[in-house]
């Protein structure tokens, strides 16, 4: 569980840094809140940038038109879990 929380924090850090989210500290991101649309209010340009950063850091390729897409990008927690499951070890 600790490892899960740590990786969520690490991903939150990556999101804030790669997307230039001024005024948002990684710890403030609610792991269950929606990342796109409402919630953090990210959009498709952010999805592009985030996918690049995630691939660079974790070597995990993200899909936006994946049937599970809504679930994967749903929240910090779901995205983090998806990355942990698929990351190259």
């Amino acid at each position: 569980m600790d490892r899960g929380l740590n990786s969520e924090q690490e991903l939150a850090q990556l999101i804030v840094e790669s997307l230039n989210l001024d005024g948002v500290s990684p710890g403030e991101i609610d792991p269950e809140a929606r990342l796109f649309g409402e919630g953090l209010g990210l959009d498709s340009l952010d999805m592009l940038e985030l996918s690049m950063s995630v691939e660079q850091k974790y070597s995990v390729k993200l899909r936006s038109d994946d049937p599970d897409n809504a679930k994967i990008f749903g929240s910090l927690r779901s995205l983090s879990q998806h990355i942990q499951t698929h990351r190259a070890t």
Binding site: N20, G41, L48, M52
Partner: protein, 590 residues
């Protein structure tokens, strides 16, 4: 004259390719006719479908029913909601859930399993391709105008069909072309409509049913299409797969538009994927006008039938575009240099229009939106230099996200961002959005790009901007703030129900204040006076007079504070410049 909706040759030709196989022309048009008969009676239909499949099905069925399709500039509620008011009777078709009263859900019509057939079982069968009158108003596209209200661009079916034929010729596509199209651009925008709907219909070739966005989406789409694919995209979408070194097997070519494609990016893409990268020049008003292979050619070649002519307008030269797919000649907002052979060089876009990820907005409209948010005293957008950004960050920030600065005593960046989100497309929500104590307006109230660039670089380096108050608060302000009372005789007629202190009354207070602050100086001549924001009766204001250098002119800034409260802001109300009496130096009044 009637024109066919599409150029598929046999009923077994594929129209849509996707996860579950393909949809043939015979099945597609049978479903289109069925859907058309089920649509509600209405003159207009707003097509919000995000997938290519939903968009095509809804658009084709609307054409069969002779309903004009409305394509909003974005998917945001603000984009389509006002269309339902502006076009009474309009209903929405969409391939996702939309929270609106008059909607027609396309999802049951798109269940691929009910339509898709495995490749092996394909038999040539008949198909019923609809025909549409050339003069039928097929679509109205919307762009954000300089006023902030969307501008409507109507297109007849003839314009759209002829435009697709011209584009196909310009791309060098032969009638027997065997390929498919994959699109990352929304079909509601002119480039997306032309390249991912009208072009495949005209050429009789299939298009991928979805909108691949990320590199892995694109890879999957190319695999699903299982034939050479042309990718219709934007420079923004080209960078991630390049950076990730995605292989993109099956790619036959790339067509990019919506913002200018840097030649280095075009060369990198051609080298990496060994396919031609073509760029389209055009606008919503005109559709595609010209193409070039950006890696090797600086000059644009106009589409067949397109004619560009120059017209002298005062000192400036304006360019008119006419053509077989353009209704009336359109005045371009770009500067071009026309060559003797009909080709042209693009010199620059009118600075006010911004294009990001296929969305466009007027910079002045964005500046107005942010400044008009209740609680915001002043605000401005800034476009960071894309070239400089790419050079310094080495592609880490490929998207040209806008930056904005604002002044407010009460609102946090999150609150301003939330207010903007309700009014502008998400791609125009600025990031970073920086709260400053004032904007670096010059004495004329203007914001120089250089001053904004300096402010931005200061923010990037330090994470904050230097907090100081009024720009040139030099000399001695009055001990007591000034006020124009509601009882001032000029207020009654200026204006009933919306009292604003007339400029001439502000001016007389300013000259009085200067006389008091700098008693030795005589104002010889008023050189300029500008009013930047309204002053309400009762609002306290201060005048700051300053001598600059030896030019014997005076500059005036006015501060405002709310009645009884602390100084809440230093909104610039007015600036003036005078030639002052000779014989005084800058120290005269101190």
């Amino acid at each position: 004259m009637m024109l066919p909706l599409a150029g598929y040759r046999t009923g077994s030709d594929a129209v849509l390719l996707g996860l579950d196989g393909l949809i043939s022309a015979s099945v597609f048009f049978r479903r289109v006719h069925e859907l058309a008969s089920m649509l509600p009676d209405a003159p207009f239909v707003i097509n919000l479908s995000e997938s290519r499949a939903g968009f095509m099905m809804g658009f084709a069925a609307a054409l069969v029913r002779r309903q004009t399709s409305l394509f909003p500039a974005g998917q945001g509620r603000g984009d389509w909601e006002q269309l339902t008011q502006r076009y009474p009777g309009a209903y929405i078709v969409s391939d996702r859930a939309v929270d609106a009263s008059h909607t027609f859900d396309l999802r049951p019509w798109l269940a691929m399993d009910s339509m898709a057939v495995p490749l092996a079982s394909l038999e040539p069968e008949g198909m019923q391709i609809p025909v549409v009158p050339a003069d039928f108003r097929a679509a109205i596209l919307f762009t954000s105008g300089s006023t902030g209200h969307p501008t409507a661009h109507a297109k007849s079916w003839g314009q759209l069909a002829v435009g697709a034929a011209n584009l196909s010729t310009a791309l060098g596509w032969s009638p027997s072309m065997a390929c498919a199209i994959v699109g990352s651009v929304p079909p509601q925008h002119m480039f997306g409509l032309e390249s991912t709907v009208l072009l495949p219909w005209h050429a009789g070739i299939p298009v991928h049913a979805h909108k691949p966005l990320l590199p892995a989406d694109l890879e999957a789409a190319l695999t699903q299409c299982a034939c050479p694919c042309w990718w219709m995209t934007t420079p923004v979408h080209m960078r991630p797969p390049l950076q990730a070194a995605t292989s993109l097997d099956g790619l036959a070519g790339i067509v990019a538009s919506t913002m200018s494609l840097p030649p280095a990016l075009a060369i990198a893409a051609e080298t990496k994927w060994q396919v031609p990268v073509l760029e389209i020049y055009g606008s919503t008003e005109t559709g595609a006008l010209a193409t070039r292979r950006t890696s090797t050619d600086e000059w644009w070649t106009p589409l067949p039938g397109v004619e560009l002519t120059t017209r002298a307008e005062g000192e400036r030269q304006q360019i008119l575009a006419a053509g077989s797919h353009i209704d009336v000649a359109v005045l371009l907002s770009d500067e071009l240099r026309l060559g003797p052979d009909g080709r042209f060089l693009w010199l620059g876009r009118s600075a006010d229009m911004l294009k990001i990820a296929g969305k466009r907005a007027s910079l002045s409209a964005l500046n107005r939106w942010i400044s008009e948010i209740p609680g915001v005293d002043d605000g401005v957008y800034f476009v960071p230099d894309a070239a400089g950004d790419a050079a310094s960050h080495d592609d880490a920030h490929p998207t040209r996200r806008l930056v904005a600065f604002y002044v407010s005593a009460t609102l946090s960046p999150e609150e301003v961002r939330a207010a903007l989100r309700g009014r502008v497309d998400p791609v125009f929500v600025p990031r970073p959005l920086v709260r400053v104590s004032q904007l670096p307006r010059n004495e004329n109230g203007k914001l120089a790009q250089a001053a904004l660039a300096a402010l931005f670089s200061q923010f990037q380096q330090t994470g904050q901007t230097v907090s100081n108050s009024c720009p040139s608060r030099p000399a001695v302000p009055l001990r007591q703030p000034l006020r124009v009372s509601m009882n001032h005789p000029a207020i009654a007629g200026h204006f009933p129900g919306n009292p604003i202190v007339p400029g001439v009354v502000i001016l007389s207070h300013v000259t009085g204040a200067i006389a008091q602050q700098l008693p030795g100086i005589a104002l010889v001549k008023l050189l300029s006076m500008r009013f930047h924001a309204p002053l309400r009766p009762g609002q306290a204001f201060n005048v700051f007079a300053e001598m600059r250098g030896n030019d014997l002119s005076a500059h005036v800034h006015v501060e405002v504070r709310e009645e009884g409260g602390p100084l809440s802001s230093c909104r610039l109300i007015a600036t003036g410049q005078w030639a002052a009496g000779a014989g005084f130096s800058a120290d005269a009044g101190r």
